[in-house]
């Protein structure tokens, strides 16, 4: 940029910033007096759980507030001017010029109507930083630097014609195109699979280093921020918890809250030794229409244990669950439950067969009828499967609520009056209401914050030891697997790559795909990404 100053000069200086948001008919404080100082060429990681205000703060660093939000106090000094006092019109000279933004969902953040190259270079051309031809040429260079395939032609495609990981990299190229002083990365890899995430992270880090750009990296994933940031700031309820250089923060966090964030990853389950199988899949093939998605899948689930099925999106893990529950009849093979082959179609199964297998879903929000109270949600399977009605029904619902560490106060609540973790607990209680023996948990913690995740995982483990339940745990998150599994099944492209006890699967040597998957899971070590890339390039 025109006035590229020395590395180390203060670029952004936010002082006691206050932001309010409008909801439920009144204004609420979202950011409660946060200070933030960012130097040129420095990358700051902003971490916190949902609702901590990290995205609001990140956008405020650009002087932008989302519709329904307002800045009520403090200052945002960007290279000598106070953005908090500027109009949108004045700010427009900065946006897309000296500061750019990389959004979480690249798929939703690209305009479906325009080609990628036009979107990549639009601000660069608008602000006269480069002529069109030159900007396009530069975009090709950026695409190449970000390891995109066919860098000279990929820009001619439309957003829907490239993959999610590629889009995220194109968006980074778009952010880099005007050579800004500051880039805000807002959870840019959260929606990606781990193996893709590694590649995107590496290319983002390399390009930020190459152009010595200052960046704010927003995420809830500590291991990711450890790879990207020089400095980490922890936020909670719109306030700063602490800030320190990355290595120091990882080694010795000062505040209890930070420590609790760090400790979640330490949850580890004692391995339960396998006994007889309660559920066996034998040579399952399945297809959606003509597209075959499962190929000869064999899985054994020992009674009273947890089998984690891991894999990336499209690996067929959720399809496996659909076959077991009878929602998608298999085209070949059999599902044997407790010695008997289950009918392929749900409609052909007896009530008793249905009762013994229950399911918990990823999005607790959409898995509950928003107009039913907790009493109805949990009471319905009690009545349907076990014929428990009236007072006995209510009593049993309360018992179940206590089992999931809630109480009778929740009986009359609607799903909208519950927090994310409480909603998932209600879904667990609903599954338990049928007195099942086998529960399929489909990504049940992936929509939750880490601390809430830990609570849910601990609850599931306790219920397992008390009730002797068997879990099939579908997840893409390796730390969840470590926390809860006895047995692990690795799936890729509709096939089982490897299966065995947790110790066996996590111990080398691995099949190639397991190796790729396991090595792609970010670790809390700041040198992890550097070492990994060095190892992979060797």
């Amino acid at each position: 940029m025109s006035n590229k100053a020395q590395k180390g000069d203060v670029l952004l200086d936010i002082k006691s910033l206050e932001i309010e948001g409008f909801s439920d008919e009144k204004w609420h404080e979202i950011i409660k007096g946060v200070d933030l100082t960012l130097r040129r060429g420095e990358v700051m990681g902003l971490i916190g759980e949902s609702g901590a205000g990290k995205s609001t703060l990140g956008l405020a660093a650009m002087g932008y507030t989302q519709p329904g939000c307002r800045i009520t106090g403090g200052s945002i000094n960007f290279d000598g001017v106070n953005l908090a006092q500027m109009s949108d019109e004045q700010m427009r000279g900065y946006w897309g010029n000296r500061m750019t933004y990389v959004a979480q969902s690249a798929a939703a953040s690209f305009n479906p109507a325009h080609r990628l190259i036009e979107q990549t270079t639009s601000s660069t051309i608008r602000f006269g930083i480069k002529e069109k031809a030159e900007a396009h040429k530069d975009a090709h260079v950026l695409y190449a630097a970000l390891n995109l395939p066919d860098p000279t032609n990929i820009g001619d495609r439309y957003p829907h014609q490239v993959s999610g990981g590629q889009l995220q990299r194109v968006m980074t190229a778009m952010a880099m195109s005007p050579r800004p002083d500051l880039i805000i990365f807002d959870e840019p890899t959260t929606a990606l699979d781990v193996t893709t995430q590694v590649e995107v992270l590496s290319s983002m880090r390399a390009i930020v280093e190459e152009f010595n750009t200052a960046a704010i990296y927003i995420t809830h994933d500590l291991a990711v921020v450890a790879q990207m940031a020089d400095v980490i700031k922890v936020l909670r309820y719109g306030e700063e918890v602490e800030e320190a250089a990355t290595r120091q923060m990882l080694k010795s966090p000062k505040q209890d809250y930070t420590k609790s964030l760090w400790s979640v990853r330490a949850l580890q389950k004692e391995e339960h030794t396998a006994t007889d199988s309660i559920m066996s899949l034998r040579g399952i093939d399945a297809a959606y229409g003509t597209a075959k998605v499962l190929f000869d899948v064999d899985i054994d689930v020992p009674k009273g244990s947890t089998v984690a099925v891991v894999g990336e999106s499209g690996s067929g893990k959720s399809t496996t669950a659909r076959v077991i529950t009878g929602l998608l009849p298999q085209s070949a093979g059999s599902v044997v439950f407790d010695g008997d082959a289950l009918p392929e179609r749900l409609a052909d199964r007896t009530k008793e067969q249905k009762r013994r297998i229950q399911m918990i879903y990823q999005m607790a929000d959409t898995a509950m009828n928003p107009r039913q109270t907790v009493r109805d949600i949990i009471g319905r399977p009690l009545e349907f499967y076990l014929g428990v009605r009236g007072k006995a029904n209510t009593e049993r619902v309360i018992e179940l609520l206590e089992m999931i560490e809630l109480n009778a106060d929740f009986l009359e609540r609607l799903p909208a009056e519950l927090s994310g973790g409480q909603k998932q607990r209600i879904c667990i209680a609903r599954a338990l209401a049928a007195n099942p023996e086998f529960i399929i948990c489909d990504e049940v913690t992936s929509a939750l914050d880490q601390i809430v995740q830990e609570g849910i995982l601990k609850l599931l483990l306790r219920l397992q030891s008390e009730l002797g339940l068997t879990y099939m745990f579908i997840t893409h998150d390796i730390s969840t697997v470590k926390a809860i599994a006895d047995q692990v099944v690795v799936m890729n492209e509709g096939r089982v790559v490897e299966q065995g006890s947790k110790t066996e699967v996590f111990q080398p040597p691995h099949p190639a795909y397991t190796e790729l998957l396991l090595s792609s899971v970010p670790e809390m070590d700041p040198d992890w990404l550097t070492n990994l890339n060095a190892a992979r390039n060797r």
Partner: protein
């Protein structure tokens, strides 16, 4: 073959199937009109023999399905049949071809519809885009209020108010729109000024509000926030980022209103004594002139199907997911 072409051909085939179904419905509903056509047309005084002769001349003595196929076979060859009025049974054969009756009327209707569309569609788009751009301002509110007012009044009321102010109190424009084949173009345009203005006022609110709503609906999308954060101006955000994704719903509403201009303007035609197809059809229904009614109904159906087909195709070609498949 390009998938868009395939879709368009599929839609065309579907449109044709719809047309066949509509023709059957038209035929059956006319069959179900009460009373005997011959008796009604000739009057109570007619003798049985006259009625029978008349029925035989019209072909009404044949079974219904034969008459249907006869009609369709004619239509396929471009022959809409012969009007029932002035047939030989009334003493002297003065009857006319349906096509000959409908032709000039249809031209008039299309002329009025075309001029109205030329005024109202661009105007509605400009108003829709500008109200989206300056939403919740005085400008936005007054445009909304004004268009809502004009759509809320019945069209004859709007027509008479316009006549009162523009034709009666000030003699600026003619209140009668009676044109014929010999009227020169300039004269024709002056005469239809008031009906065109009336129709514009009636249909503009719908199109303008849909344009505004379709654009505003998109303004909450993440890619609009992204466009703003890359420094795009208000106008750029609306015109370059929202509008290209809003064409499908806008085209549907425009097609709907254009169809209305062809098939639904009989009230305006009556008020301004404009010789359009709407009046022709109403007259034909009252005199039980079945071939004319069937011909008009078929033309209306074709208009609807063609315009909606066009809207569908616009929706397809403005959707990059369909236009540029993976």
């Amino acid at each position: 073959m390009h998938p868009v072409l395939v879709t368009v051909l599929q839609r065309l085939a579907l449109g044709l199937a719809t047309l066949v179904a509509v023709s059957i419905i038209i035929f059956i509903s006319i069959e179900m009109l009460p009373g005997d056509f011959g008796q009604i047309i000739l009057g109570q005084a007619a003798t049985k023999a006259t009625v029978a002769a008349f029925r035989a001349e019209l072909g009404l003595d044949m079974p219904a399905y034969l008459r249907y196929f006869d009609w369709i076979a004619g239509v396929l060859q471009g022959d809409l049949g012969t009007s029932f009025s002035g047939r030989a049974a009334s003493g002297q054969d003065r009857s006319r071809e349906v096509a000959e009756l409908i032709g000039p009327r249809l031209q008039n209707t299309l002329f009025l519809a075309g001029i109205t569309a030329l005024i109202s569609v661009p105007l509605a788009l400009i108003l829709g885009i500008s109200t989206a751009l300056y939403r919740n301002t005085i400008y936005d509110r007054s445009i909304n209020a004004a268009t809502l007012t004009t759509i809320s009044f019945p069209e004859f009321f709007v027509a008479y108010i316009l006549i009162l102010f523009l034709s009666s109190l000030n003699q600026w424009l003619p209140s009668l729109a009676n044109v014929d084949a010999s009227t020169p173009l300039g004269e024709r345009l002056t005469r239809i000024a008031l009906p065109a203005l009336t129709l514009t006022l009636v249909i503009i609110a719908h199109m303008m509000r849909m344009t505004r709503a379709a654009i505003i609906n998109l303004l909450a999308s993440p890619y609009i926030q992204m466009a703003r954060l890359s420094g795009a101006s208000r106008t750029e955000v609306i015109v370059k980022h929202a509008l290209p994704n809003a064409w499908a719903p806008i085209a549907t509403v425009i097609a709907f209103n254009l169809a209305y201009l062809v098939v639904g303007v009989v009230v305006v035609e009556v008020v301004f004594v404009y010789p359009g197809i709407g009046q022709l059809m109403v007259d034909a229904v009252t005199t039980r002139d079945i071939p004319v009614v069937q011909g008009c109904a078929l033309i209306f159906a074709v208009t609807y199907i063609l315009l909606n087909l066009t809207a569908d195709i616009i929706g397809i070609i403005t959707n990059p997911r369909l236009l540029h498949p993976k």
